[in-house]
């Protein structure tokens, strides 16, 4: 097992390095940079010399390979650089927003689990009945519906609905408050994006629950249990569901890693100050320092999640270790 872990860990490093190379050079292929936009906001004439000066200060004038070396060695000495837009350390800027995105992601996961497991189970038990079709349609719709559009509809519904029934329009808060400070306000803001993203997420998990459960229900020991005259309820709850959960939690894990990416668009709709919004803003402002670290963070989350999922599998199924 140790050998397997070591082997998998060694595979992570080249992936991360490759991602770093990819994102670093991809960004620098863009013409123009943060200095151009910062100094020219109102169309005023700006000295070329001042733009050069700004570039020099931000280290953009150095040869690419030197910039890349600085970027990579930054991880060793834990200096991830400063945002080229605000001048503040990237770690500070990301840290500020990460907790919001993480909270939405966790809430969305919760929404997904709460919807997916019962729905998936019902769908499997009632396979090929109209209930199954309704559930499957509901879950495929979740994958089909753009979560940002669902978000637009939610806000629209809230504003119009509250105006209609309460007389004054109500809008979710547009500023983030820590849940430890004001839970009600926090929830009033974040529950909507959690539902909007959680629906899509639940759709994937529902499908997995259904198919995993169907597979388990075909296994011999379930047949034996049935033959022994156990009630269907006990079979499902005690045996089948329990055994079907592994692939379900795997897909939840894998999707979680990519949820951060999915928040990119949803955060725009709800004005959430999370890493998704930061990502779009820094891409548009050509804030290389910020963009590359954000991408690396998302990649790291994905790689680590996959690693953990693999380990769990290897631990449960020894054949994988020796494959």
């Amino acid at each position: 097992m140790h050998k397997y872990i070591a082997k998998r860990l060694l595979l992570i490093l080249p992936t991360l390095l490759g991602a770093a190379v990819l994102v670093f050079f991809l960004l620098r292929a863009i013409p123009g940079d943060v200095c151009e936009v910062r100094l020219a906001g109102s169309g005023l004439y700006v000295d070329e010399a001042e733009i050069e000066l700004c570039r020099e200060k931000l280290g953009l004038a150095k040869p690419l390979i030197v910039q890349f070396w600085d970027f990579i060695t930054g991880y060793v000495v834990w200096d991830l650089g400063d945002s080229m837009w605000t001048g503040k350390p990237v770690t500070e800027e990301i840290g500020l927003r990460f907790k919001l995105s993480l909270q939405v992601a966790l809430m969305a996961t919760l929404v997904a689990v709460v919807i997916a497991i019962p729905l998936g189970a019902i769908s499997a038990i009632k396979q090929d009945t109209w209930i199954d079709y309704v559930v499957r349609s509901f879950s495929i719709a979740g994958i089909a519906m753009p979560s940002f559009w669902l978000g637009i509809l939610i806000i629209l519904g809230l504003l119009i609905g509250t105006q209609h029934f309460l007389g004054t329009p109500w809008m979710p808060p547009i500023e983030y408050v820590s849940p430890f400070k004001d839970l009600a306000s926090n929830m009033a803001q974040l529950i909507w994006p959690a539902v909007a993203t959680g629906y899509r997420y639940s759709a994937v998990a529902t499908r997995m629950t259904r198919s995993a459960l169907l597979e388990v229900l075909r296994e011999d020991y379930i047949r034996t249990a049935r033959a022994k005259g156990m009630t269907e309820k006990i079979i499902i709850n005690r045996h089948a569901l329990k055994n079907a959960m592994l692939p379900v939690f795997t897909i939840i894990g894998i999707e979680f890693a990519f949820l951060m990416g999915g928040l990119v668009v949803t955060e725009q709709v709800f004005n959430l100050n999370g890493i998704g919004k930061l990502f779009v803003e820094s891409v548009q402002a050509q804030d290389f320092a910020m963009t590359q670290q954000l991408v690396m963070l998302v990649v790291l989350i994905a790689v680590v999640t996959n690693f953990v999922v693999d380990l769990v599998y290897a631990w449960l199924d020894p054949r994988i270790r020796y494959a």
Binding site: I30, G43, V46, M171
Partner: protein, 535 residues
């Protein structure tokens, strides 16, 4: 219940009065207290007004600082009505043939950290803006080319000596970006410190800035304008999407937005909230234009450039496009409500401004045919910002198609957009704009000189420089006006850059926000000291 209804009634009346632009002293005396929440649609690049140029910095940061003098907060609509801020008495008119401006500085002023403020701080501030040491950025250095020296004869007097008399000095010195910094801070921390730190003498004291979320300020008890500010504090909440800003006002998460909304959004708000919303409107010192790259064939041919401007129906746009975009007024190169601007009749005789659009478009088609450029496809560069750029861009595409041209819109985020204008110059036609704070037409129109650093058509026209030079030296308003017409006609004929519409500023806000008056620029009148909440 009754009293609140009454309040609403009063609010409505006050609102209407504001909306009509009448100079109204509020019915009731200003109430003290409360926090003003407002939404801001752009990011804060840094806190340093001397190097930044976006309202994303002005709206949240300006309230922390004082200026030497500012536009009159009770009459911001008048671009020449300046009022002392840290100075005392009237705004000086130039002595010694208009080359010497002497300001008296108020006594007993202090910065938020307790350091006293005197003429030395003002000098240190303007030295940074006008004579920045090598390696220090200053975005508006070019506007102070006329300044020879800045001296401080005593602690409460500052003297600006000019190389030559210039009507552009006062408007430049009154720009809202010229935050007064403490000499002590500049000496102790250097010229970079103000990018990330705030120590001003304005109406509010900096509390916190949570990046991407908000900036908060609290009341400055030692503010130098007596009895002000009325508010206990403010929160400038970041909301990059216009839809969110509108929803925020609608759901009362914010009371006001200081940039501007299109009329359709105003009507929706008023319809939903009635007299809980007050609307203020003004012409806006921003012009939206398109610039043609004369180094790209066939746009080197003046006839093709003329066709482009002839194809555009500005009057129809002023009626319909204006419903959904923050542009409205048909105008020439000068801010429309300024005395130097062309009158409606003068405009109608100018190239591209004829009321007879059918004739204009027929002429455009004929010119294109003559030049052998019928039905050409071309690249149309636009900026990835909805209001007003992308909306106007979509309209322009439609206009040009009506004379058979086939523009292909290429929308780029701001940085790439600027790179295309300045360095790559790989556009055929691009959206362009001229957005200024203090209304100062003679300085503002320099953008139309082919030789100007911020002119992107690549045209060459020495005649424009000659006329402009005469304009700078013109002594009477009448002379200025006639030379301006000459300049304008030449600009239209060169057709490197053509006007579409001037922006139009509409600020619908919660009616409980009192004491704020709309200015012709979203950079102006943002000290917030005169605002109070009628809640």
């Amino acid at each position: 219940m009754k009293s609140s209804l009454f309040k609403q009634g009063v609010a409505a009346i006050v609102g209407i009065a504001f909306a009509l632009g009448a100079v109204t002293v509020s019915v009731a005396a200003p109430k003290k207290g409360g926090i003003l929440n407002f939404v801001v649609g752009s990011k804060i690049p840094s806190y340093d007004g001397h190097i930044e140029s976006t309202f994303g910095m002005i709206h949240p940061i300006r309230p922390f600082y004082s200026l030497l003098f500012r536009v009159n907060p009770d009459n911001p609509a008048d671009p020449t009505d300046f009022q002392c801020d840290v100075c005392e008495g009237n705004i000086p008119s130039g002595a010694k043939g208009g080359t010497e401006y002497t300001f008296k500085i108020r006594k007993g002023l202090q910065f938020h950290d307790g350091t006293p403020l005197n003429a030395h701080d003002v000098k240190a501030t303007f030295d940074k803006i006008v004579f920045p040491p090598k390696g220090v950025a200053s975005n508006r250095k070019a506007m102070f080319k006329m300044v020879k020296s800045i001296e401080v004869p005593d602690d409460h007097t500052i003297v600006f000596t000019l190389k030559f008399p210039s009507g552009a000095f006062i408007p430049s010195a009154g720009m809202p970006f010229n935050f007064i910094y403490s000499k002590k801070d500049l000496d102790a921390h250097g010229y970079e410190w103000h990018k990330k730190n705030v120590n001003g003498s304005g109406a509010f004291i900096f509390v916190e800035h949570v990046a991407g979320s908000h900036v908060a300020g609290k009341r400055n008890p030692n503010y130098h304008h007596a009895g002000k500010p009325y508010l206990d504090g403010f929160r400038a909440i970041s909301a990059p999407k216009m839809s969110v800003r509108l929803q925020a006002i609608r759901g009362d998460r914010a009371a006001i937005e200081f940039r501007g909304f299109p009329p359709k959004a105003r009507d929706d708000l008023v319809k939903a909230l009635g007299d809980k919303i007050t609307v203020q409107e003004s012409d806006w010192n921003c012009a939206l234009m398109f610039t043609v790259n004369v180094n790209h064939k066939p746009f080197d041919d003046k006839r093709v450039r003329h066709a482009l401007t002839l194809a555009v129906d500005r009057y129809e746009a002023s009626k319909y496009l204006a419903n959904i975009a923050i542009v409205k007024t048909v105008g020439g190169i000068v801010f429309p409500s300024h005395p130097l601007a062309a009158t409606a009749a003068e405009l109608e005789g100018s190239l591209g401004f004829s009321r007879d659009i059918k004739a204009s478009r027929a002429k455009a088609r004929a010119l294109l045919k003559e030049a052998g450029a019928e039905g050409i496809e071309f690249d149309f560069n636009n900026r990835g910002v909805d209001q007003p750029y992308k909306v106007v861009g979509t309209w322009l595409v439609d206009q040009w198609r009506q004379v058979g041209l086939k523009p292909i819109q290429r929308v780029q985020p701001s940085p790439q957009f600027y790179a295309t204008l300045r360095k790559k110059k790989d556009f055929d036609v691009t959206v362009d704009f001229n957005c200024q704070s203090v209304v100062n037409p003679i300085a503002d129109v320099s953008k139309f000189l082919c030789s100007a650093g911020n002119h992107y058509s690549g045209c060459e026209n020495a005649k424009l420089d000659v006329i402009y030079d005469r304009l700078l030296k013109a002594e009477t308003p009448a002379q200025q006006r006639s030379i301006m017409r000459e300049f304008e006609t030449e600009v239209f004929d060169t057709a490197g850059t053509a006007l579409t519409l001037w922006w139009y500023k509409i600020n619908p806000h919660r009616s409980y926000v009192k004491g704020w008056k709309i200015a012709p620029s979203h950079y102006l009148n943002q000290s917030l000291d005169q605002i109070w909440l009628d809640k």
